[in-house]
Every structure is written in structure tokens, then in C-alpha cells.
């Protein structure tokens, strides 16, 4: 990163009351306050949100893609972990 470049921030927007904040993208800003305002200008100008979270990207720790096999593969054949073995009445649509 160039020395004079502003740090990168990850932006999370809650689109309406009751929903979760969702990751929408990232942007540059000099500090947290500016990141929130930049996010307001970049990501909510078409009424996409009512709340903004920002976090400096360097504080996000990610799983290692090289370990994807040992991390995620083992769950593949454990279908019994899904609650899909119940008989549900037809009227129930949203379960």
C-alpha cells in the first residue's frame, strides 16, 4: 500500500429494522468517522440502508483458503445435521 493512501474499510449496511447488517463492499477513508460518511455517500444514496457499520479491513481475520478442505469438507457427508428429516404439513411454507 502506498504510504499516502487512506486505509481500507469494510462496510456493512442494515437495509431495514430487524434485518442483519450485510457486507456491501469496501472503501478508503482516513478515519472511522469519514468511513461512515463515505459509506453513506457511496452505499446508501439510493435508500439502501438505515444503519451503517464500518471496520478497518486489517482487523478482519479470514480463514485460510488452503485449509478449505480440512475446514469445510468434513461437513459434506453429515446430512443428519440438517433438520430435513421431519414430515411437515403442506400448509407450512416458510420452514
Amino acid at each position: 500500500m502506498a504510504q499516502n493512501e487512506w486505509p481500507l474499510w469494510e462496510i456493512f449496511i442494515r437495509s431495514k429494522q430487524g434485518l442483519d447488517h450485510k457486507h456491501v463492499g469496501s472503501l478508503h477513508a482516513a478515519d472511522a468517522q469519514m468511513a461512515i460518511e463515505n459509506a453513506r455517500d457511496v452505499y446508501t444514496r439510493r435508500q439502501e440502508g438505515i444503519s451503517i457499520w464500518v471496520i478497518e479491513s486489517k482487523y478482519i481475520h479470514a480463514s485460510n483458503p488452503d485449509e478449505a478442505d480440512s475446514f469445510f469438507e468434513p461437513a459434506n457427508d453429515k446430512v443428519y445435521r440438517h433438520p430435513t428429516f421431519y414430515d411437515l404439513p403442506e400448509e407450512l411454507k416458510h420452514i
Binding site: W6, L27, H28, A29, A30, Q33, M34, E37, N38, D41, V42, R45
Partner: protein
């Protein structure tokens, strides 16, 4: 001068301030110092041009009711078919962008004034003006916050950014007193409880500017602003260039629509 004329002039003056500053800011579109701020300044442009539209639509409605105006007035005819001397914006808003320091300082000085003015206009006896001000105030509150933070950031930033803020103050301070010196249609508006009382806003404006400048480690010039005339149609050379670009399509291809 009839009451309708005073009222129309007053509304057009409010619209002109918004349109010309909106146009100035729009010149940054695609040239902002960083993508995020390019979008921020363009958003402010759109807020201001939106305000201008509301004022012009209202002015057009009044003009069409008045017998002294020939031809149909519309928001477009008001924006695109008036010449420099008919424009009633303050000199401050037509000043060139120069650099980012000049742009954010111009925004701060003007938006702080506009915030106080629109707050006063919430109590206007003219319902339409009160309603437009209420809607616009939400936008202006953000413009003040955004621009004040930039003034502090640059004023209290590096040696170069501080120097550029000093230059910006040098170029713009002279135009600030005009914001608070009422011209005849403003005096009429105040007398009829339609407009806000400008001189009484000046103290509060000064307090806010002093606060932000002090946080930005910037000096307040000793001398009060002295340049004026925009509100009565006497402009700096810059407005002509703005209108040449702004009005080009309608002048070159009258009534063109796209």
C-alpha cells in the same frame, strides 16, 4: 415593485444560490481527489440542484399567475433562459473551485449560512417556502457536517494543506458579508414574515465559523467581507462562464428535449 415581484425575486434568489453552487460542485464530477469524495461532492451537487428545482417550480407557478409576465414560465426557463444580470445568487457561490481547500471552505461558509437561513424559514408565513426549507434542511445539515470536517482536516493537517486553507480564506472571505446584507426583496420578505432576518443570523454564523476555524488552527480575518452585488445581479466575471456551459444546449438548440 409589486409584492409578487418581491416574492418571486426572493424565491429565485434562494434557487439561484442552490443552482450555482450545485453546478460548481458538479464540476468535480470525475475529478474528485478520491473516488469516495468524488461521490460525496456530487451528492451535494444533486441535493443543491434539487433544492433549486423546488424553488424554481414555485417561482414559475407565481409568475404564471401574475399578469405582468408574458409567456409560460417553467423551472427550465428560469434556469436556462435568464442572462447573468437576472441571476440573484451571492458572489460566494459562483467563485471557482480552485482546489479542494477552496471548494470545501466555500461549502462550509455557505452551508453554515444556509442552515441558519432555512432554520429561520421554517417559520415563514409562506407555507411553500417553509415546506421546501424543511425538506432541504436535512440535506444542508449534512453539508455543514461534511464541509466542517474537511476544513478541520485540512486546516489542522499538513503544512501544505494548512497553507492551502489560508489561501482559500484569502480568496473567499471577502464575499461572506454579502450573505447577511439584505437587498430590497429580502427586506420586503422579512417585513412580511416570509424571509428570515439576515443581520441577526450573522452572529450565530460567526460563532460557528470561529469554532471550526479554531479547531482547524485557522485565523479569522480581521476585516469583514466587502464584496457584494450578486443578489441584485452585479456578478463577478465567473458567472458568465458558468452560464455559458449551463445554458449551452438551450441557447444553441432552443426548446431541445432529451
Amino acid at each position: 415593485m409589486t409584492a409578487t415581484n418581491h416574492l418571486t425575486n426572493y424565491i429565485i434568489h434562494l434557487g439561484d444560490n442552490a443552482l450555482i453552487l450545485g453546478h460548481r460542485n458538479s464540476e468535480w464530477c470525475g475529478h474528485g481527489p478520491i473516488l469516495e469524495q468524488d461521490i460525496a461532492i456530487t451528492n451535494i451537487s444533486l441535493d443543491l440542484i434539487g433544492q433549486a428545482r423546488l424553488f424554481y417550480q414555485y417561482a414559475a407557478e407565481l409568475m404564471n399567475k401574475s399578469s405582468s409576465v408574458t409567456g409560460l414560465a417553467t423551472e427550465d426557463s428560469i434556469a436556462y433562459l435568464r442572462d447573468v444580470m437576472e441571476y440573484k445568487n451571492t458572489l460566494l457561490v459562483e467563485q471557482p473551485n480552485e482546489d479542494w481547500a477552496c471548494t470545501v471552505l466555500r461549502q462550509f461558509l455557505f452551508s453554515t449560512h444556509q442552515q441558519l437561513l432555512y432554520n429561520g424559514l421554517l417559520k415563514s408565513s409562506d407555507q411553500q417556502i417553509a415546506v421546501i426549507s424543511e425538506k432541504a434542511l436535512k440535506e444542508v445539515n449534512y453539508h455543514v457536517k461534511w464541509s466542517a470536517e474537511w476544513v478541520i482536516r485540512l486546516g489542522d493537517g499538513t503544512e501544505e494543506s494548512h497553507q492551502r486553507m489560508l489561501q482559500a480564506i484569502d480568496s473567499l472571505w471577502m464575499y461572506t458579508a454579502e450573505l447577511f446584507e439584505p437587498v430590497p426583496y429580502e427586506l420586503w420578505a422579512t417585513q412580511n414574515n416570509i424571509g428570515a432576518n439576515l443581520p441577526t443570523l450573522q452572529n450565530e454564523w460567526m460563532k460557528k465559523v470561529e469554532n471550526i476555524f479554531s479547531e482547524a488552527t485557522l485565523p479569522i480575518p480581521i476585516q469583514k467581507g466587502w464584496q457584494k452585488g450578486g443578489k441584485t445581479g452585479v456578478h463577478t466575471e465567473h458567472l458568465g462562464y458558468i452560464l455559458t456551459e449551463l445554458q449551452y444546449m438551450q441557447r444553441a438548440y432552443p426548446n431541445c428535449i432529451w
